[in-house]
């Protein structure tokens, strides 16, 4: 580890070996063209040597009129690395489903080569196009060129974050509603909430077309929209037989794994007790040619997932077991607004929606957002006797029972 530092990047070079494509190669490519990326490479080598990062808390930077979309970043060795003294991230709202044309991608590259580091993340964890590293002065020009080309920023800070959705009906036979359209519609509907942080904390939306949840919505979105159906699974018995012939052990690999054991195979007919099917997708996943979700489709709406900081990680929990989802999605939008209204007024600073729900209790929360409590919302009723009964009779109440004589 002798000649690290400015004379080379021997540690990072190790990461250009091996079959998996290397991010180091990417940084080097950008470094060819951009001094900032070259500086990043050296800074990173230093981190590898010292086993510590060299970035500081971001200050407030952004584009005019927006409160979100830019993550300010400054390094803690600005004298050694002046080229990346500031090195902010721009979050650009991706098209729903992460679909692009070559031209669109090239346009973004052109803009970013003009103004930034030439480095990106395709994509960030929330789904945005991440333009990784530019100076404060470049923010506004980048933004201008992006909007000129139909792109706009994503969210950051205490705002609605960039909604995302799975590939859905564009390329998946299981999509139970139009994930791309809903994602896009909500993003457009709530532009103000996306760009101008006014919430207690971030609010993420993810739209998965079916319970396979290919966007991890149940774990990573405050609002999780998970497609499902309420009629019968469509069965093509001939294809079931074909699947068996092709080597699938239907009893062991399919029926046996059904969570409610509501599917049976006797060697000639596949029977599903749909009233007990919990739409887990497993049987359909294993026999895509033979089985399909029903046709009366919609989605389960869940609320509240987040990472562990600081009250512990949460998965989203059921708000509406089944909702039809057709444009203009009014029922869903109304629900979202009611949730935001209540959270906006009652959420503490940096309190996610799911945390508020837990703090005040699901029962109270439901009252506030005007949903009736139903058993689908719980995995089981309470097992402790500490019930806050809300009313009690006072002596002399009219519904008081007669005392003797």
């Amino acid at each position: 580890m002798a000649d690290s530092g400015n004379n080379g990047t021997p540690l990072l070079d190790e990461l250009e070996k091996g079959p998996w494509p290397s991010f180091v190669t990417q940084i080097k490519e950008a470094a060819e063209k951009k001094a900032s990326s070259a500086a990043l490479l050296r800074l990173l080598e230093r981190s590898y040597n010292e086993k510590i990062g060299h970035w500081k808390h971001g200050g407030i930077v952004g584009v005019m009129g927006y409160g979100g979309g830019v993550i300010g970043r400054y390094n803690d060795l600005p004298e050694d690395f002046p080229e990346i003294a500031h090195f902010h991230t721009i979050r650009v709202n991706m098209p729903s489903g992460w679909f692009y044309t070559s031209d669109a991608l090239n346009t973004i590259c052109d803009i970013w080569d003009r103004h930034g580091s030439g480095l990106t993340n395709m994509h960030g964890s929330t789904g945005d196009i991440i333009l990784l590293g530019c100076k404060s002065d470049d923010l506004e020009p980048t933004f201008e060129e992006l909007t000129a080309n139909d792109f706009d920023l994503g969210g950051s800070g205490s705002d609605m974050r960039t909604p995302s959705g799975c590939v859905g009906p564009a390329r998946c036979e299981w999509a139970c509603y139009d994930t791309l359209n809903l994602t896009n519609d909500l993003t457009q509907e709530f532009q103000d909430e996306l760009h101008r942080p006014a919430f207690p904390y971030k609010f993420k939306i993810k739209c998965a077309g079916c319970p396979n949840d290919c966007v991890a919505s149940v774990a990573r979105a405050d609002l999780s929209v998970i497609g499902t159906w309420r009629d019968e699974i469509r069965i093509d018995q001939a294809e079931v037989k074909a699947a068996e012939k092709a080597g699938l052990d239907i009893v062991k690999d399919v029926c046996y794994n059904c969570p409610t054991k509501c599917i049976e195979w006797d060697g000639s007919e596949l029977k599903i007790d749909d009233s007990n099917c919990v739409k887990c997708m497993h049987c359909i996943n294993t026999m895509p040619k033979a089985l399909r979700p029903g046709t009366d489709t919609g989605a389960t709406i869940l609320l509240g997932s987040k990472a562990p900081i600081v009250e512990g990680a949460l998965l989203s929990s059921v708000m509406v077991p089944f909702m039809k989802l057709e444009p203009p999605y009014q029922e869903l939008k109304d629900l979202i607004e009611r949730i935001w209204d209540f959270w906006g007024e009652n959420g503490k600073n940096r309190e996610r929606c799911g945390e508020l729900m837990q703090r005040i209790g699901l029962g109270n929360f439901l009252e506030e957002i005007e949903l009736d409590p139903i058993p689908q919302m719980v995995s089981h009723p309470r097992d402790n006797p500490y019930v806050f009964y809300e009313d009690y009779y006072e002596e002399g109440d009219e519904d008081e029972e007669e005392e003797d004589e």
């Binding site: 990072l12 990461l15 091996g18 998996w20 494509p21 290397s22 991010f23 180091v24 190669t25 990417q26 940084i27 950008a30 990043l40 990173l44 510590i52 990062g53 970035w55 808390h57 005019m64 009129g65 970043r73 991230t89 991706m94 489903g97 679909f99 692009y100 044309t101 070559s102 669109a104 090239n106 973004i108 590259c109 080569d113 030439g118 990106t120 993340n121 994509h123 139909d150 792109f151 995302s164 590939v167 564009a170 390329r171 036979e173 457009q188 532009q191 996306l194 319970p211 949840d213 966007v215 774990a219 690999d253 997708m281 895509p288 990472a307 600081v310 009250e311 512990g312 990680a313 998965l315």
Partner: protein, 357 residues
């Protein structure tokens, strides 16, 4: 002028970017088949076919590489492509005769094709030392080293089911590692070092005190400055105080590293979504290639791949064999750290006599 400035236009409409075959069959796909590693076909009710070739990506991409992807899409897919929720690139073809040439080009470029079906796909990950102030480890470097070791399982379909790996470089968990089959999580293990000189200037002391979930932080006067003191015994290194106050840096080369978690999932298939559980409490950072982490992940993958039943995710496999056996089979030592002591800890104690002996 302000009125003319374009704002709040939102993203470009996705419809602009859909190839004709998708527009024609939108919402009318009938089934799909995996043709070979990294290649699948979706067949429409119309009989139309859409072929997808999925290629690996390091996610951190230079504009050069993106342009190369765009070129390939032009060459093979009429200029249509997409990225996946795990940051792979998908090329969308209608002509299956072009598949092999595309794959050859991708390999040439250094991008393995695979990740579809019962395979190990890309690792969801985060910024690390490349761009974040909060990182306890690097992200891209660990991911590269681990995936180098697992590329074989990306390029084939030789494992029992899907195996999702994620990495987050600190407890904020931007990689949402909390529900992954295998999660690599950067952790600090030393209480913040307080910069008493700057603290009162940069931070509001009551906020700092309130940020600590374990009430480890008390107000104190140090060298005449209003500041805080931290009860080391109460600190569990969450870094929430650092998030609200830069004068409390957590990063520490001697004590930072990663922990490894197993058995989470998010799909509803078979079993309900569930969190990952602690497997290995701590592995020191060992850049550039984190060999101990690579080895640990490989070991977990092997134990699962060799013993799980078909379709069984890591967590389902472990539930079936029981945690004691999991520790036995992986050779991981069970320690005090594995025992939960957070809010709902008591619910993780084994409260029955259903045991294997």
């Amino acid at each position: 002028m302000a009125t003319e400035r374009k704002t709040d236009i939102g993203p470009p409409n996705y419809e602009k970017f859909l190839p004709p075959v998708i527009k024609d069959n939108y919402g009318k796909w009938q089934y799909h088949e995996i043709l070979k590693p990294g290649v699948m076909v979706h067949v429409g009710e119309s009989g139309d076919k859409l072929f997808t070739v999925r290629a690996a990506s390091p996610r951190l991409l230079s504009t050069d590489t993106i342009r190369k992807f765009a070129d390939l899409a032009k060459k093979y897919c009429d200029g249509y492509l997409r990225f996946t929720s795990r940051n792979n690139v998908e090329f969308l073809l209608t002509d299956d005769s072009k598949i092999d040439a595309l794959i050859a080009d991708l390999k040439e470029m250094g991008h393995p094709v695979g990740g579809i079906g019962n395979a190990i796909s890309n690792i969801v990950h985060t910024q690390g030392w490349v761009h974040c102030h909060s990182a306890a480890t690097d992200a891209s470097g660990v991911v590269k080293a681990v995936m180098d070791d697992l590329t074989g399982h990306f390029e084939s379909r030789d494992v029992p089911g899907k195996l999702r790996i994620a990495l987050a470089c600190c407890l904020n968990m931007c990689g949402a590692v909390h529900c992954s089959d295998i999660a690599i999580l950067g952790i600090h293990r030393r209480p913040p070092k307080t910069d008493h000189a700057s603290l009162n200037k940069l931070c509001e002391i009551p906020n700092v005190i309130a940020s600590c979930p374990t009430a480890a932080i008390r107000p104190a006067t140090v060298d005449g400055n209003p500041s805080i003191e931290i009860d080391d015994d109460l600190c569990m290194f969450c870094a929430n105080c650092f998030t609200v106050c830069p004068s409390l840096p957590m990063a520490d080369p001697l004590n930072d590293g990663v922990s490894i978690w197993v058995g989470g999932k998010v799909s509803n298939a078979r079993t309900e979504p569930t969190f990952s559980k602690l497997a290995i409490p701590f592995i020191p950072n060992n850049p550039p290639r984190w060999p101990e982490v690579v080895e640990a992940v490989r070991n977990l993958v092997d134990v699962w791949a060799n013993n799980a039943r078909k379709y069984e995710r890591m967590g389902e496999f472990i539930e079936r064999i029981g945690w004691p056996r999991f520790f036995e089979m992986t050779g991981i030592e069970f320690q005090k750290e594995h025992i939960d002591d957070f809010k709902h800890a008591g619910l993780t104690y084994k409260r029955s006599a259903q045991l294997r002996h």
